[in-house]
Each structure stands twice: as C-alpha cells, then as structure tokens.
C-alpha cells in the first residue's frame, strides 16, 4: 500500500467537560486507547506510513500521546507522521479544515504517493482498507466515499451525515440526517481520493471561497469528478456526543464487538504506559467489564470500562460506567451510569448516579466530596 498518503481530518463533536482540555479525537476509549488510535492503527496495519494529522488546537495531550508516532511505526526517516497544528492567518480571516489543508499543501505536493486515504478520527472501525482500495482502483474513481446503511429507529444518528446515492451508485449528495427515514446511508467520513484531484479541489475551494471542509470541497464539484461509493457492512461507531461515546465504549462489552474491534484486521496500537498487571484484592467482585492494566481493585464492578491505573476501594460499587486513567474511587463510593475523567478522585462514601440515557460526566482531576 505504498502509494497512499494517510490523512486524518478534523474530528468534531460536542462532549462538554470531556473535551474541555483535549481535542475530541483524543478522547480516551476502550480502557487504554484514544479515539485517534483507530485511525493511526488502520494506517499502520495497512502499511500506510506517510500520514498527515490535522491536530487542531490544545495540543498538549496530542503531543504527549502521539509524539513521533513510534507506537504505530510512524517514526520513519522517510515519510512517517506529520502533525499540522491549527493555522491562524490574517490572510483568510478564518481557520477551518480547508485553510489548514491548504497551508500544508506542500506536504502532498512533495509526496511520491498518488492516492490519499482520509479518515475521520471520530469514526471507530476496523475496515479492510485494501478492499476499498481495490474497488477504488478498479473503477478508476476520482473519489470513493464510504458509507454504512443503518436502521435508526431510535434516532441515534440525528444530525449525522446522510448520504444519498444515484441509481448507478455514485454520490448524489451528503446532507444532514433529520430522521425522516429510518433506514439511510450514514457517511463515515472516510474514503479514497486521487491526489491530483485533491490538490485541484482544495485550490478551487479556496479561490472560490465556497467551502470550509474537505467534505464540502469534494461535493462542490461532484459533476466534474467520478465519485464512487463503498458500502461497509461491518461494525462501526461514529462518535459525536457523550451518548454515542458511551455507547461505543459499552459495545466493547459484547464479545463479538470486542473481537471485531481488537482482533480482526490487525490490532489497535497505542502508547504503552508500562503499568504492572491489574491486581484484584480479596473483596473484588468483577463481572462483564473490561479493565486495563495497573488497576488496584477491591470493590464491585459490573458493565463498566476501567482505564489504566484506576483504584477502586473496598466495597465501592461501579456499574455501567466509564472510569478513566488514574481515577480513584474510594471505599464505599457508588458510581452508576457515570463517565469519570482522568485523575478524578471520588471520596469515601460518595454516590454519583446518572441515567442510562443521560450519563453523568465529571471532568478531569476533580475531587468529589460528600
């Protein structure tokens, strides 16, 4: 797959306190990962090793986590990972995805690769990139955009990207899902684009001042280009808010979901923290849960996702919750339907209860007392 550049687009979503100190793509996920690990691992597992990341602002956690890209073998002398922080320039009087891509156009122009595979970091999937690439080449498409047909009676995908197809399988348009149809095609924010087409699109869009994102630029002149589609059938989560974030985490508690996310089409790589194994003390009662390493557990845990280095005190009860790295839940505390961010301490005997449809989120490094 040496002819492909990897591009990670802007990740967007509304996550309240959880994204107060980090970009959305840096949200912790699945006990020991960050959302971005899925995009980076997808590239790594498919030998795509010239990668551009539009990192946005608030880069402390990004730099700390990704560094030179070593966990994904992206610390290359040739190619490797390029991180583009947000550009502010009075030239444009704006700083959107399009301007940021334009400012880094030299990266694409100097690259030898002729195709670009772009991914929305908020899309969590283990798609087989090779299969899409084969179709993209066979059909000699200018772009191949990936969608999944979903049945959404519950309205989980309201305001997500809805793709409408022409009869010949080309893209008619991508708009906003207002829930008028239960079954629709959810655009996954990923696909292939020829580099020459990409360069034209970005320049045109900036000259005409008529779009602000890669998606906008791609669709603006759809008459001029051959835009094909690829329908994906596998598991996928598109994370745009706290509920979809919690759902995506909890879907890992399903054995099939767990296997598909972690054992099909390569493993997910992340920065190693060198924690010792997790220790379960005498009072531990843990079922139907996922735990990372480095935890010290002496309480009861069910239906929960426990990140690295979490401490759960004696007789504490954790149910249907996400407890992030380094959080400490002291003795006798009760946590139900909560998302507790990194390093937060819940003191002895405190009860925190959210509702299943509206989880209670607590930001980083808080101390919750009685």
């Amino acid at each position: 797959m040496e002819n492909i550049i990897g591009l990670i687009t802007y990740g967007r979503g509304d996550f309240g306190v959880l994204a107060a100190h980090r970009p959305a793509y840096m949200l912790p996920f699945g006990c020991r990962y960050r959302l971005i690990d899925f995009a980076l691992s997808t590239f790594s597992n498919n030998d795509i090793d010239n990668v551009a990341l539009y990192a946005g602002s608030m880069l402390r956690s990004t730099i700390d986590h990704i560094g030179n890209g070593k966990p994904w073998d992206l610390n290359r002398r040739f190619g490797g990972l390029s991180i583009f922080p947000e550009v502010y320039s009075s030239k444009y009087n704006r700083s959107d995805e399009l301007v940021n891509i334009y400012e880094s156009l030299g990266f694409y122009e100097s690259a030898v690769e002729e195709q670009i595979f772009f991914m929305d970091p908020m899309t969590i999937t283990k798609i087989d990139v090779r299969e899409v690439y084969r179709q993209h080449l066979t059909e000699d498409a200018d772009m191949t955009l990936i969608y999944k047909t979903v049945d959404d009676k519950e309205g989980r995908y309201l305001n997500y990207d809805k793709m409408t197809l022409n009869d010949d399988g080309t893209v008619k348009n991508i708009g906003v899902n207002l829930g008028t149809q239960d079954v629709f095609n959810l655009y996954l924010g990923m696909g292939f684009i020829k580099k020459s087409v990409f360069l034209d699109l970005i320049k045109n869009a900036l000259e005409n001042d008529d779009s602000y994102s890669l998606k906008g630029a791609m669709l603006k002149e759809k008459g001029r280009y051959k835009i094909r589609t690829f329908g994906y059938n596998g598991r996928v989560a598109v994370i745009r808010d706290v509920n979809s974030y919690v759902d995506a985490n909890m879907s890992l508690l399903d054995r099939d979901g767990f296997n598909e996310m972690f054992h099909v089409n390569g493993t997910i790589l992340t920065k190693s923290k060198d924690e010792p194994s997790t220790i379960y003390h005498k009072n531990a009662r843990v079922e139907h849960s996922l735990l990372a390493n480095g935890c010290i557990i002496d309480g009861t845990i069910t239906g929960s996702i426990i990140f690295r280095g979490v401490e759960i005190g004696k007789n504490a009860i954790i149910k249907n919750s996400i407890i992030m790295e380094g959080a400490i839940i002291e003795d006798d505390a009760v946590i139900i339907n909560c998302v507790i961010d990194k390093g937060t301490i819940v003191k002895e005997g405190v009860s925190l209860v959210g509702s299943p449809t509206n989880p209670y989120t607590i930001g980083k490094k808080q101390v919750i007392k009685r």
Binding site: S272, D274, P276, I279
Partner: protein
Amino acid sequence: MKTGKTVAMLLAGGQGSRLKALTRKVAKPAVPFGGKYRIIDFAVSNCANSNIRDLGILTQYKPLLLNEHLGIGAAWDYDKNKGGLRVLSPFTGEEGGRWFTGTANAIFENIDFLDEVNPEYVLILSGDHIYKMNYDHMLDYHREKGADCTIAVIEVEWEDASRFGILNTDENDQVVEFDEKPAEPKNNLASMGIYMFTWKELREALYKDEKNPDSDNDFGKNVLPMMLDDGKKMFAYRFSGYWKDVGTVRSYWESNMDLLDPNNTLQIYDDHWRIYTKSKNLPPQYLAEGSTVRHSMVNEGCVISGTVENSILFSSVIVEEGAVVKNSIILSDCVIKSGAKLNRAITLEGLVVDGTTEIGQDEDDDCVYLMHEDGVTKE
C-alpha cells in the same frame, strides 16, 4: 549518574537448571515473572532508573528469546545515540572461539568493550534477581568510602545464612573475610551478587585472575577473595528492600505469589521506580458475566469466564466458564478449558489445559506442579 562514568555489566548467560522446564528453551533471566515481566527486566529497569547510560548484557545459554526481548533496548530507553545497551555474546578470535568460563571470565573477554567506553566505575549485576535498587546510591557509597570494590549485601535470617555467600565485616562495614556457605556463620550479611568496582582495580584483577590456571574465573569464588588478599579496600553496602533469587521452581512460585500480598515490599505499583518491559500492545482484559476474579493479578489480553483466585495470569490467557484456577501461575497464551481445576500449578506458555485436568486437588499436599507440553512435574 553524576560525574564518573559507570558501565553496568549484566550477567545473563546462566541456565538456571533448577528451574527445570521453565528454562528448557530460555536462559533464566528470560523466564517470565510477575504477570508481565521477564526476570531480567528488574535489573535492566534498575539500571535505566539509576541513569546508567551504558549497559552491556552478557548472554550465553539459549539467547534467542533474550535477544528478541531486549532488542535495541527501546523499552528501557536504551536506544540511544550515545551509550545505550549492547548485547555481548561469546565470539571467536585468532585462537578460535571460547565460551565464557565463569562470571569474571565473561567480563575479561569483553575488556575491549569496557576499554572503549572507558568508564571510571564498573557495576557487575546478575540478571536473575527480583529487586528494586538505586545503583546511584551504591556509587555514592563506593566513592564516599574510597573503596576499590563495594558489594551489595542483605541481612538474612541467621539460620539461613549458611545457604549464602556471607561477608564478614568490621564495624565500618569494611570486608575482612569471605565465607562461602559457612557451616557456622559469623555474620548474616549475604552477598547479592551486585559489585561496584573502580574500573582500574577491576581491570588489574581480571588480568591477574586470568593468568592463574587454578582459578575458575568466578567473582565470588576467585576474584573477590584474591582482591581482599591483595589488600584492596572492599566494603559491604547494606540493602534493605525486597530481594529474591528465583532459584528453584518452588521459590519461583513463592516469589510470584509474594506480589499478591498488599504489603509486599517490592512495591511494584510504585510508579517512581517503574519496571519496564517489552510492550505487546494487547487489548484490555475481559471479565465476562459470571466470572470470579479475586486476590489475583491479571494482565492484558486475558479473557476470563471462570474462577480465578490467588493466582497470577500473564497476557492473553483464556479461562473458560467452569474452569477453576487457584494458587497458580498461568503463563502467556494458555487456555484453561471448561471443567479444568488447577491448584498450585505453573503452566508454561501456550499450554492448552484440557477440561478433564485436575491438578493439586488433594488438600493435604503442598507441592507445586509444573505443567509443560510433555506432562506435569511435581515439586
């Protein structure tokens, strides 16, 4: 480390034959320990945490896995431009090839390496002990005493002293006599096999020892007593933390089990002195509905549906529904099938334990059972 360059030389070539099937394919330092480590990780991490920039690792017995594990030392940040980790294996010269004949000979054979690094001090370590130690403090002590050689010692119970190499010392902890496994010990300071030498002195001693045809070229047996006879200043450096030589299958089992004690002085969860190892980047551990996991250590990649008590599970172990694992050490990639009952077992890597297996179910016996592909060895 401060001024005065120190090179650590880690002896990792030993077979450890008393560990039986555990060392059938790997050298003792490469034997898995504590849920995710290999024994050598403790010494290498101690070096990294003590800011020793140059580390030579001497291998000999079945080094394949050890080499793979160490790589270029990236896990310990030893992949450096200046200094770093070098694996030193036996080699051939003009007069043919030689194996390392003893601990001191292994260092002697690599004098070219040491001359090139040109250190002020050389720290000799053994790759088969479990402990956390700041070698920088030992160097401070060595310099403060103006010693030619400093030997780390640990106080052992008087009744155990006859099993160790004992150092007899004066009131300033200066060594006056070496007493190898004394029948009637005069002291209870046991050598930990950790020696800090002033390189100039060691170099001289190694040449002298090598010329002696009667010598076994061993530090404890030959070189140290010789230096003492030559009037060199040697001091004992007292260490008072957790230290264990994992010598036998039984002590291997016991020292692993020590980790389950919340008051264990090794303090493996203390992140100021972390033990590093090669990362496998595995998914989190999955505890299914109906699982029971208590008083146990479990590593990443495990999937547990059965019962695990008072045990240590390495990475990617599968414990099926209805399987019961108690007081056991399960190495990586084992599958414990539904119905199997293990007690006081050690299962070697990748073993599939059949559902009809029952091990250690007799309440009265306290043997440890080493399970390997050819069967079960009772210890």
